[in-house]
């Protein structure tokens, strides 16, 4: 029984020495490992938050550019519409001018046609008058008057000789 007691005591001391030594030797490195892990986790968290903020920034920018693009697009559309309107008005004005020119041309044509018709009616009238006088003279000229006519004409001819 004595020997067993010293052995147990020796074992206990040995055990505690070992525990102490191991603990002393490994405690710091293990702590360091824990620290490092904690540090790494903290860094990871920081990076994650940074990425999140960056993403939020990008999202914000994207929304802004989208908005500005929309605005630009609407401006372009507005400008195109205004130009189209201008063109339409220019075309209409042009057409009006052309129509006016056409009407003046037609009016001028009508004037010349009117004058031509007028002249034609005058010519027809003159022709009619001449043929009437021819017929009248032919029917009313009896022998005595005819001889008198010859005498008068002869006098005129001799004058012109």
């Amino acid at each position: 029984m004595d020997i067993q007691l010293t052995q147990i005591l020796f074992q206990i001391i040995n055990f505690s020495v070992v525990v102490g030594a191991v603990g002393f030797l490994l405690f710091k490195p293990v702590l360091k490992i824990f620290d490092e892990r904690a540090k790494r986790i903290a860094e990871g968290e920081k990076a994650a938050t940074k990425a999140q903020t960056a993403y939020a920034e990008i999202e914000k920018n994207r929304k802004l550019t989208e908005a500005s693009l929309k605005k630009e697009r609407s401006e372009i559309v507005k400008a195109a519409q205004a130009e189209a309107l201008e063109r339409k008005e220019a075309i209409i004005a042009d057409a009006k001018v052309k129509a006016k020119a056409l009407t003046t041309e037609l009016q001028a044509q009508w004037e010349t046609e009117k004058i031509a018709l007028f002249k034609k009616s005058q010519t027809d009238m003159a022709e009619a008058v001449l043929s009437i006088s021819e017929k009248v003279i032919a029917s009313t000229l009896d022998k005595k008057n005819a001889q008198k006519l010859i005498d008068t004409e002869l006098k005129e001819i001799i004058k012109a000789l």
Binding site: K119, L149, I150, I157, I158
Partner: protein, 79 residues
């Protein structure tokens, strides 16, 4: 050089009287200074009235038809 004869063609609507022929002859003799005048008489009723003298391809138109033609051409030219 003096031409001694000249031919006159007298165209009328009806037959000319002797007096008229004489008048023509004397007038032509005087104007053209010839010794004798030959008068050819042509009757053309289409002339309606009056007389036309043709002397050496120069014509003196005193017919009604001729006057009407003159009126017509002058009138139409002026229109």
């Amino acid at each position: 050089m003096k031409t001694t004869t000249i031919t006159v063609i007298a165209t009328s609507a009806l037959e000319l009287t002797k007096v008229q022929v004489e008048t023509i002859s004397t007038a032509v003799k005087k104007k053209y200074d010839v010794s004798s005048v030959t008068i050819e008489k042509v009757v053309n009723p289409a002339l309606i009235g009056g007389i036309k003298l043709t002397i050496n391809s120069v014509e003196f138109d005193g017919t009604v038809q001729g006057k009407l033609a003159k009126i017509r051409s002058q009138l139409l030219n002026q229109l």
